[in-house]
């Protein structure tokens, strides 16, 4: 079975648009003894699944749309120390391959953060498509892990014992609520 045919077995054909209200891109990074979490909104995205099963997932969020608990941190995250929103106003993703993986799905693609584009692999699950009020809906959950320093986000602060406070590994969670375009 070809990759496209295999993909067709888990993803229904059509053009599926992200509903930004019910979708989220969030991140978590270890900070000292805890975990620092945040999210981005609004999320734009489209999943296209052709009749032959070949599929493409694209998405973007504005760097200025980063959401965290503290207002002061919101400003710092947009600054050159982190996402550098002035120079790189968008974070984007474009898949290069989508295939079934075990019970779920694997999505390979290019993630661009701070103007640096690097390959990532996300794994996740597909929720059974449903129809409600004559519209078709599909849910997709994806997880990936990246090294933020490879995208040029190298900020850190040193703890009193000399260790860096902020981890380099960032865990990304994507929850997509997709609506089929008619």
């Amino acid at each position: 079975m070809s990759e496209a045919t295999a993909t067709k077995s888990i993803l229904p054909t059509g053009t599926w648009q992200v509903d930004p209200v019910h979708s989220q891109v969030s991140f978590a990074v270890d900070y000292h003894v805890g975990t620092f979490r945040g999210s981005f909104s609004p999320l734009n995205g489209t999943l296209t699944v052709a009749e032959d099963g070949s599929a493409t997932l694209t998405g973007s969020v504005p760097a200025s749309g980063v959401k965290v608990e503290a207002e002061q941190l919101h400003g710092h995250l947009q600054s050159p120390d982190f996402f550098d929103a002035e120079r790189a106003p968008e974070l984007t993703f474009r898949s290069s391959a989508i295939r079934p993986a075990g019970e779920g799905i694997e999505v390979e693609g290019e993630l661009a953060i701070r103007g640096v584009s690097l390959p990532v692999v996300a794994r996740g699950t597909v929720k059974e498509p449903t129809t409600y009020a004559e519209r078709e809906y599909l849910g997709l959950h994806l997880e990936a892990s990246i090294d933020r320093t490879k995208f040029g986000i190298e900020w850190n602060n040193t703890l009193p014992d000399g260790r860096p406070a902020l981890d380099n590994e960032v865990r990304i969670n994507v929850d997509l609520f997709l609506v089929k375009q008619q």
């Binding site: 400003g75 710092h76 600054s79 050159p80 900020w155």
Partner: protein, 186 residues
């Protein structure tokens, strides 16, 4: 192009004021370096005063920074870090949080101290603080150690290598300003 230089010491014969003046002299044609002398007049930063109209001296600082294309900080080192008056100015300029005048502003940090290291700790602390406040801190440095003996009677840097390094810092700052302006036009 207008650069605002902020010396971190308010002492009359400040070595860092001399550094700022040297930057004025070494600046290429078309680049104006103004020196901010209002640190001593700023009230202590107090978030309570954020809600109403800030003091006129705070407005002067914010306006001077807003109207500058780039910033050149020259800091001494007091007790291993930035002088309180300088940190106070950074704190005022980092507010209001939704649109502080420091955000994305190209900024360079240099420093002079009477010790053997030329205020490198204070410079590192100031770069960190400016970065957190949202400034575009450029990767250029000048540390002038033994500052008591570093300037001649006219207040010029004696060491030609230090003059060259200061010129290079100003050039890097100029490039960062030009790059930002090109981005705004794009």
């Amino acid at each position: 192009m207008r650069i605002l230089s902020i010396p971190g010491s308010i002492r009359r014969d400040s070595h860092n004021l001399k550094l700022a003046r040297e930057a004025q002299r070494l600046a290429p044609a078309g680049l104006e370096v103004a020196i901010f002398g209002g640190l001593a007049a700023l009230p202590h930063y107090n978030e309570d005063e954020e809600s109403g109209q800030p003091a006129s001296t705070v407005l002067e600082l914010r306006t001077a920074i807003a109207e500058a294309d780039g910033l050149l900080f020259a800091t001494p080192e007091y007790n291993g870090t930035i002088p309180g008056v300088l940190k106070n100015a950074v704190d005022w300029a980092s507010r209001p949080v939704d649109d502080p005048v420091l955000r994305n502003k190209p900024a360079a940090v240099i420093g002079a101290s009477t010790g053997a290291f030329g205020a490198v700790w204070a410079q590192a602390e100031l770069r960190k603080s400016l970065g957190i406040a949202g400034a575009r801190v450029i990767d250029a440095e000048l540390a002038v150690p033994f500052a008591d003996a570093a300037f001649d009677d006219q207040g010029r840097l004696k060491d030609p290598a230090q003059r060259e390094q200061l010129r290079a810092v100003v050039d890097s700052l100029k490039s960062a300003v030009e790059e930002r302006a090109a981005l705004a036009r794009a």
